[in-house]
């Protein structure tokens, strides 16, 4: 082939001559066909005349533009990444507080709250229709009118005044007013559109400043009739029309400059916000369980979106054994309560938890955020504040449980997808069930607790004291079986650990044990009681009424009859150091750290003591202030045999059927060696048993119990305030005992005669054995005729002890089993089975049995 014969190139012919190109191409392939490279060239010749490289460049350029735009959108422009995957707020796993046998005393249960956003709701729904339906769904609990009042919180006297955010009512000038008037009169802003009549339910009201307020009636403006009269079928379209038109009226000429959807939406949102400002409203704090499904169905049927109105699940604490009567003090006040904190207190707590200095200028920005978050949490989320609730929470947070306890809350994950102009749809993704709430098992016996409560209430009613406290303890373990208090002046706090008082003669038990341990006295040693005339180193020692006629007695009788002169002589034989050490070993003068909330340390004078005054006074329980918890711990230590045990009120934690016992505390310093020997304690026990038989406790003596007692009747000195006067003043003025107030109250009394603190410690067990229980009752300032411990506190103490030992059940005498372990019961009692359906038969049989007994008929014993 010569150069002149080479096939014509595409560039050689005019652009657009496709036919020629096809022919040439075909011709080339058929006619030429001399080489593969020539064939490829021919096949890929561009029909348009453009070279392929140019096409690739063009496409590449377009793709690069797209990529650049995408990069700008994703990296540079402001916007939010859509978070379609959402999690429902995780409800924390609560805990259950049970009594020693598993009866729930406190726990968290779900409740349903009906919440709404009036602002969102009434954009898309008709108030009257929703009120009707919800009223029916809620079982008629609220009438439709009441529902409307709840769902339209901005309405005052039937109207809502449009607001300008937090700046007060939205005020219109005359130009705006005339535009709004024109719109209302014509019903539309579109001058080309035919008017469909005026808009009802909006009025402009002149205010003293000469400007105008928008006042509107949602029931009228958003009614179905009004909507229909303007040709709108859907509430959402109608509300948008109102907002758009009103917004345009307010803006005037500036409205013409709005040309994007975003600007239009913003104006609509602001206008609607002015018309319906409230964003959140709780409609029903607790939807009745029987109505929950009906309400849910109404919301679903009406296509109410969650951001408009929804049933929200919350948790609350319930106290099944507390009783529900309002105004009645709870039956188990030791349980304590959950509460939220005031903002100041919440902030202080947050700072304390984060270990931050008081000066907030030293905090980092992260620390500021952390403090704010924790503060908000304390303000809005209730948490245990005191009592067993607080103790249980702290027990569960102890490090030893962290590997074992599972406290993962329920987690629900869903996809929330929303197509523009369509309602949002949620799609299930994952549900992880929450863990079973752990059970904190206390040592409280709920039956005994009830009786203890009943007994101290009775004491309160009979003796009219300022307060009564009582505790029942399992002597061997130090487990608190029941503890409670009642007071006249709403003192607050857990009184057995907070309220301090003069223990009086019950302290003689400690004095005697210390003296025996120090070897300065023996139980049989004869000591002169001096007939109430004893003068100790120039100080006259007075006696209580019952101990005035005693002459020479043994040391044991001195304690049994509670003779001050004897105990002062015995107690002052010890050095103050030795006596002080025994008191410290028993826990006096320091907070017991129970974990139930606030605690008092009591008052134990530091050494050295004046022998004539401080030491002598402490010998019979004066010049020392104790809490009931401290004193009960000390008395139980002596009754137990000398080994100190802090009183225990929580004994185990359970979850998923596994129980982990909380071991008895053994590592304390005062547990390394017993402050009293077993022999000493046995001797003191025998003295207390003597006291129960013939001494100050004889009024409560029961021969069916192996028991010992020690009474206490502490008369307040003139320098001490009358507790009634002090507490009444604190209750009224909330001054917490300020020094100025105390000075003001000195010498005042709320009753005749002296002020006493009456108390009784009683321990006992059944003759055949079984557990030994110690009961200690304190009655502070009784105002009745009686004031001796055995008379004031004694009846409650023995009643509690008998209940604890099973002689009574729920306060009623229990028939005791015979030696063979069986009860002798009447036929009627034997027939009284647990079959309520056969009650009629049993009643008839009882009548026949009575007839037979009357006629002397014999029947076989059951």
């Amino acid at each position: 082939m010569t150069p002149s014969e080479k096939p014509p190139q595409a560039n050689d012919r005019p652009v657009g001559d496709t036919r020629a190109s096809a022919q040439v191409g075909t011709g080339a392939s058929t006619q030429v066909g001399t080489g593969a490279s020539t064939q490829v060239d021919e096949r890929f010749k561009s029909a348009s005349g453009l070279r392929p490289a140019s096409a690739f460049v063009l496409i590449g350029f377009v793709l690069a533009l797209v990529a650049a735009r995408a990069a700008i959108i994703s990296l540079h422009e402001e916007g939010e990444q859509p978070h379609n995957l959402q999690h429902l707020p995780i409800l924390p796993v609560g805990f259950v507080v049970t009594d020693s046998s598993g009866v729930p005393m406190a726990g968290s249960v779900d409740y349903l709250e009906l919440d709404m956003s009036p602002n969102a709701m009434w954009q898309a729904h008709t108030p009257d229709a929703m009120a009707q339906k919800l009223s029916v769904a809620l079982g008629g609990q609220y009438s439709p009118q009441e529902m409307l009042e709840r769902m339209l919180p901005d309405v005052r006297n039937g109207r809502i005044t449009a607001r300008n955010g937090s700046a007060g009512p939205l005020l219109l000038d005359d130009a705006q007013k005339s535009r709004v008037d024109a719109w209302l009169a014509r019903g539309t802003l579109d001058t080309k559109k035919e008017s469909r009549g005026p808009i009802h339910g909006i009025a402009l009201v002149r205010v003293p400043s000469g400007r105008w307020q928008i006042q509107w009636e949602p029931q009228v403006l958003l009614s179905e009739a009004e909507r229909a009269s303007h040709g709108y079928a859907k509430p959402l379209d109608w509300s948008r029309r109102i907002a758009d038109d009103l917004g345009a009226c307010l803006l005037g000429d500036a409205a013409a400059q709005i040309d994007t959807d975003e600007e239009r939406a913003t104006l609509r949102t602001h206008t609607w916000f002015a018309l319906m400002p409230t964003q959140f409203r709780c409609i029903d704090k607790e939807v009745p369980v029987a109505c929950a499904q009906a309400v849910h169905d109404v919301l679903k049927e009406e296509r109410v979106q969650p951001h408009q109105m929804e049933i929200v699940r919350h948790q609350k604490r319930v106290y099944p054994v507390k009783g529900t009567q309002r105004g009645v003090a709870p039956a188990v006040s030791v349980l304590g309560r959950w509460a939220t904190l005031e903002p100041d207190a919440a902030r202080r707590k947050a700072m304390r938890e984060l270990n931050l200095p008081a000066d907030d200028s030293l905090w980092s920005s992260d620390e500021v955020d952390s403090v704010q978050k924790r503060t908000q949490l304390c303000i809005f989320q209730p948490s245990p504040m005191n009592g067993l609730e607080l103790l249980s929470k702290n027990v569960l947070e102890m490090p030893e449980w962290q590997d074992w306890l599972r406290v993962r809350g329920e987690e629900y994950t869903f996809l929330a997808n929303q197509v523009p102009r369509q309602p949002r749809h949620n799609y299930f993704q994952e549900l992880i069930p929450g863990d079973e709430p752990p059970h904190v098992v206390t040592t409280i016996e709920i039956g005994l607790q009830r009786q203890l409560r009943s007994a101290i209430q009775k004491t309160m009613a009979v003796n009219d004291p300022a307060l009564v406290m009582a505790i029942a303890i399992d002597v061997a373990t130090g487990d608190v079986l029941a503890v409670d208090s009642v007071d006249k002046y709403e003192m607050g706090g857990f009184l057995p650990a907070v309220h301090t008082y003069t223990p009086g003669s019950t302290m003689k038990v400690v004095t005697m044990a210390s003296a025996l341990e120090e070897g300065v006295v023996t139980p049989d040693e004869k000591i002169d009681a001096h007939h109430n005339t004893f003068v100790f180193e120039g100080r006259r020692i007075h006696e209580a009424e019952g101990a005035k006629d005693k002459d020479v007695v043994t040391a044991a009788e001195g304690l049994a009859f509670s003779i001050n002169a004897v105990l002062v002589q015995i107690g002052t034989r010890m050095t103050d150091v030795a006596m002080h050490q025994h008191l410290v070993d028993l826990g006096y003068g320091r907070a017991p750290r129970i974990g139930l909330g606030g605690e008092s340390m009591g008052t134990l004078h530091p050494l050295p003591w004046t022998r004539t005054w401080t030491q002598a006074s402490i010998c019979y329980g004066h010049e020392i202030l104790v809490t009931m918890w401290q004193h009960a711990t000390a008395l139980a230590t002596i009754v137990r045999g000398g080994h100190f045990r802090p009183l225990r009120i929580v004994k185990a934690v359970e979850q998923y059927g596994v129980t982990k016992e909380i071991p008895l505390v053994e590592g304390l310093q005062n547990q390394q060696h017993d402050t009293y020997s077993a022999k000493t304690c046995q001797e003191v026990r025998e003295m207390m048993m003597l006291g129960a038989r013939i001494g100050t406790g004889r009024k409560v003596w029961r021969d069916d119990i192996v028991m010992g007692t020690k009474t206490g009747t502490a008369e307040r000195t003139g320098s001490e305030l009358c507790l009634h006067v002090e507490l009444a003043h604190v209750h009224e003025h909330d001054c917490h005992g300020a020094a100025a107030c105390r000075a003001l109250l000195k010498g005042k009394k709320a009753h005749n005669g002296s002020c006493y603190t009456s108390s009784m410690c009683i321990f006992g067990h059944r003759p055949e054995g079984g557990r030994e229980v110690m009961v200690y009752v304190v009655v502070d300032e009784p105002r009745g005729k009686l004031h001796f411990g055995s008379e004031v506190a004694g009846p409650a103490a023995i009643a509690i002890l008998r209940e604890a030992l099973g002689f009574t059940s729920d306060g009623e005498e229990v028939e005791q089993a015979g030696p063979d372990g069986f009860h002798a019961v009447s036929e009627a009692a034997a027939d009284a089975g647990d079959q309520p359906w056969s009650e009629a038969v049993h009643a008839a049989e009882a009548v026949h049995a009575a007839d037979r007994r009357q006629t002397g008929a014999k029947h076989a014993p059951r």
């Binding site: 249960v109 929950a292 299930f428 729920d810 009623e812 028939e815 009860h823 009284a832």
Partner: protein
Amino acid sequence: MTRLVLCAGLSGLTLLVGLMTAIVQSHNRELGMQLNDVREETMLIEAVNAASKANIIALDHGPIPTDAQRADKKLTR
């Protein structure tokens, strides 16, 4: 020819996979919505049950009466 068949097959399979994915995805979405509804109702039932249980426990049936108390009650009827 082979190339043509393979390409057509591949294209067809791609379309088929795309179609199947769309169908399965749509089905999953439908199931997701249903499950979400079921979950909402379950939550409601759980809450209602919990509240009912709390109410029952709070009735406080008190201690079991002794034989003597039972007998007294029977005879007084």
